[in-house]
Structure formats: structure tokens, C-alpha cells
């Protein structure tokens, strides 16, 4: 599903990734670890096609519309409600039975009662839950998750554990500082220096 050869990325004089080779088979669950600044987020952005490599190549065996991307930021509009945000993305992803899918996700992630509130009024944990709803909205084949447990409380983290378990068979590339939490699901680990 993901094939990277000699992948490099520089930002000006700063080298973030250098000569990385990576193979993630369809259905693989690869956990990416490394210290701050080791290039975990950059790797996810390169795979998502949001950044261009300065060297090497990366190939992804699915359309960009089949990628679910969870970033550090929730990638939602703070002045809009959870419902309005997901409705916008649902339209852009042309999801059949959009309202039912959005309602089901909001219910599952515990945001149904706050669905009409502006995202600006959400706690960081609620924003992370909404970001997960956004990333999962179109039932993607490839999930690129950057610190998915970030800001989640114990209930939220347990909920996400269950979600990830239920998505077995999809392909995952997950950057995390807590690889032990994902050990039961992971098929390989990549440590960036």
C-alpha cells in the first residue's frame, strides 16, 4: 500500500528525513516512533501527498480520497459546529447517506449532544474526537494518524482503542510516543532517529 524509496525531506538547511525506505503492505499497521523533530509528522505528510520529498519517492496504492489523515491540529473550522464541519467534508467526499454516517460517528465519539455547538467551545479532547470523526468519515482504506491519543481522556482513549480494533484490515501508519498502547494492533514498528 505504501512504498517509499530513499525518501528525504529538508526544510531549508534542516534535514528532517534522510534516505528512508519503507514498505507497508495492504492491511499493515505500522507504528512510527521517534523523538520530537525526528520526522514522524513529515513522513505522514509526505505519504499523504501534502508535502513533496526533496529526494527519493513515495508511492501510495490508493486514491487521495481514500486516505484518512489525522494531524496535530483537528483540521476543522472553529467557528462552525461539529455538524457543519462534518457536513462540509461529507459533501466534498461525496458520502452516500452522509447524515446517517455523520450522526453515527458523532454518537459513537460522544459528541452528539454538542453537535450544534461551535468547535471553538470544545475542549481539546472533544476537538480530537471530532478530528477522528473527520478522518474516519469516508471509511478510508489508508489511515495516517499523528498522535491519535493526544488530548484524549481515558474514556476517549478506550473508545479509540475499540475503533482501531474494529478497523483491522485497513492500512495504518501511526506516529505515536506511546507504542505500547498500539502493540496489540501493530504489525511493524519504524523508529526514526
Amino acid at each position: 500500500m505504501i512504498s517509499a524509496r530513499c525518501l528525504s525531506k529538508r526544510y531549508g538547511p534542516k534535514r528532517v528525513l534522510q534516505g528512508l525506505d519503507l514498505e507497508v503492505p495492504r492491511g499493515g499497521f505500522v507504528v512510527v516512533t521517534g523523538a520530537n523533530g525526528s520526522g514522524k509528522t513529515t513522513l505522514l505528510r509526505l505519504v499523504a501527498g501534502l508535502a513533496a520529498p526533496t529526494g527519493g519517492s513515495v508511492e501510495v496504492g490508493t486514491d487521495r480520497g481514500r486516505i484518512g489523515y489525522l494531524a496535530h491540529e483537528p483540521l476543522v473550522y472553529r467557528e462552525l459546529s461539529a455538524l457543519e464541519n462534518l457536513d462540509l467534508y461529507g459533501r466534498l467526499y461525496r458520502i452516500a447517506e452522509r447524515r446517517e454516517r455523520i450522526g453515527m460517528l458523532l454518537e459513537r465519539f460522544g459528541l452528539w449532544t454538542a453537535r450544534r455547538d461551535p468547535v471553538a467551545s470544545f475542549s481539546r479532547g472533544m476537538q480530537q474526537r471530532l478530528a477522528l470523526c473527520r478522518a474516519l468519515l469516508h471509511a478510508p482504506d489508508l489511515l495516517l494518524l499523528d498522535e491519535p491519543f493526544n488530548a484524549l481522556d481515558e474514556d476517549g482513549a478506550a473508545l479509540l482503542d475499540g475503533e482501531l480494533d474494529g478497523l483491522r484490515g485497513r492500512t495504518f501508519l501511526v506516529a505515536t510516543h506511546d507504542p505500547a498502547r498500539l502493540a496489540p494492533l501493530s504489525t511493524a514498528q519504524l523508529a526514526l532517529a
Binding site: L75, Y77, E79, L80, R94
Partner: protein, 211 residues
């Protein structure tokens, strides 16, 4: 049709954001009104030709004010990443944003043009037509320039440097349509400007929003 539906969904989002935040349109309206009031006292009497120039400079600068804020939500909340990943044609992002910039500009002008008529002279039908044509071109190329500038650290400086040179033909065409005895060829010039820059912006936007 799907392409237009995507653009409409994105434009609707911008209109909703403006309705909630009211950060762009009030600033545009107040700016253009303040310019006309200032020039009402600065210009000597019977300076209709100078006032025509003022009208067009005010329109371009008001558009610039709106464009500076056009991609602020996408930049502040990094949502451009999510929009770029969506399976829609990326130029739909440009089209949706151009629609909303155009709408904001029309609202500002709906307040400003009557005031211009009150202070200076009543705009002719050709002038109103020229304003509408100019708005389309300014929104089309301005949105592309705003997307180019938004990634930079000096957005407020970079955007005028990119946008104003490209807006000079609009001022030439607009002033021509306002003061010439036969405005048809200036209106044609503005329509040509719209077509050329809309196609250019539509075709290049994808390369602007991807690194």
C-alpha cells in the same frame, strides 16, 4: 455538476464563517466608505474625472482588504490540508473561495456605490457593468494570489505586491468604461481580462496549494 456542488459547498462555508465572525465584510464596507468621505473633502469641486479614478482605486483596495483575509481560516486552523486531501478537483477550492470573495466585494460595493453617487456623480449603467465585470476578475486572480501569499510569513506584505500589479488593467478598463464616450471596448477589455485570468487561476491553483 459535482464540481459546481463542491465549489458551492466551499463558498457556503465561507459565507457561514463570515456570518459568524463578521471580520471581513464590515471592514471592507467601512474602508470604502471612509475613502469616499475622505476624498469628498480632499478633491476640489467639479472633479468628476478624478473621482472616476478614485472610484476604481477604492474598489481595488477594498478587494485587497478582503483578499488579505480570504485564506485566514484555512491558515489559522490548517484546514487547507484537509481540503486538499478531499477527492474533489482542487480548483473547486479556488472557485468556492472566489465566489465568497466576489460576494463580499458586492456587499461592500452595494453600500459604497450609492455613496459615491451622492458625493460625486451618479454612476452610469456602463460604470455599474464595469464594476461587476471587474469584480469577477479581481476575485478570480486575487484568490489565486491570496493562496500564494498565505503560506508566507509576510502575507500582508506579499499579497499587495502580487495582486496590485495584476489589478492595474482593471483600473485602466474601469476608468475607461466610466469616462469614455463609447465604453463598449473597455467593457470588452474587462470581460477579456476576466476570461484570461479566470482560466489562468483555475489551471494553476492546484500547483499553488500543493507543496
Amino acid at each position: 455538476m459535482t464540481y459546481l456542488r463542491d465549489a458551492a459547498a466551499l463558498a457556503r462555508k465561507d459565507l457561514l464563517l463570515e456570518l459568524r465572525g463578521r471580520e471581513t465584510v464590515p471592514a471592507m464596507v467601512l474602508f470604502v466608505l471612509a475613502v469616499f468621505v475622505a476624498f469628498r473633502f480632499a478633491l476640489p469641486e467639479d472633479q468628476e474625472r478624478a473621482a472616476a479614478g478614485l472610484l476604481w482605486v477604492a474598489i481595488v483596495l477594498t478587494a485587497l482588504l478582503g483578499l488579505v483575509r480570504a485564506f485566514v481560516p484555512e491558515q489559522d486552523q490548517r484546514t487547507l490540508d484537509a481540503l486538499v486531501l478531499a477527492p474533489c478537483d482542487r480548483s473547486a477550492i479556488w472557485l468556492g473561495k472566489s465566489f465568497s470573495v466576489l460576494a463580499f466585494l458586492l456587499v461592500a460595493e452595494a453600500a459604497a456605490v450609492p455613496l459615491f453617487g451622492l458625493f460625486f456623480e451618479r454612476p452610469s449603467a456602463a460604470t455599474v457593468g464595469a464594476i461587476l465585470l471587474a469584480d469577477v476578475g479581481l476575485a478570480a486572480i486575487g484568490t489565486l494570489m491570496a493562496a500564494m501569499a498565505v503560506g508566507g510569513r509576510a502575507r500582508e506584505v506579499l499579497l499587495p505586491l502580487l495582486f496590485l500589479p495584476l489589478a492595474i488593467p482593471v483600473v485602466i478598463g474601469g476608468v475607461g468604461a466610466t469616462v469614455a464616450a463609447d465604453p463598449a471596448r473597455y467593457l470588452g477589455f474587462l470581460a477579456l481580462y476576466d476570461a484570461i485570468f479566470a482560466i489562468l487561476a483555475w489551471a494553476t491553483f492546484e500547483y499553488v496549494v500543493t507543496e
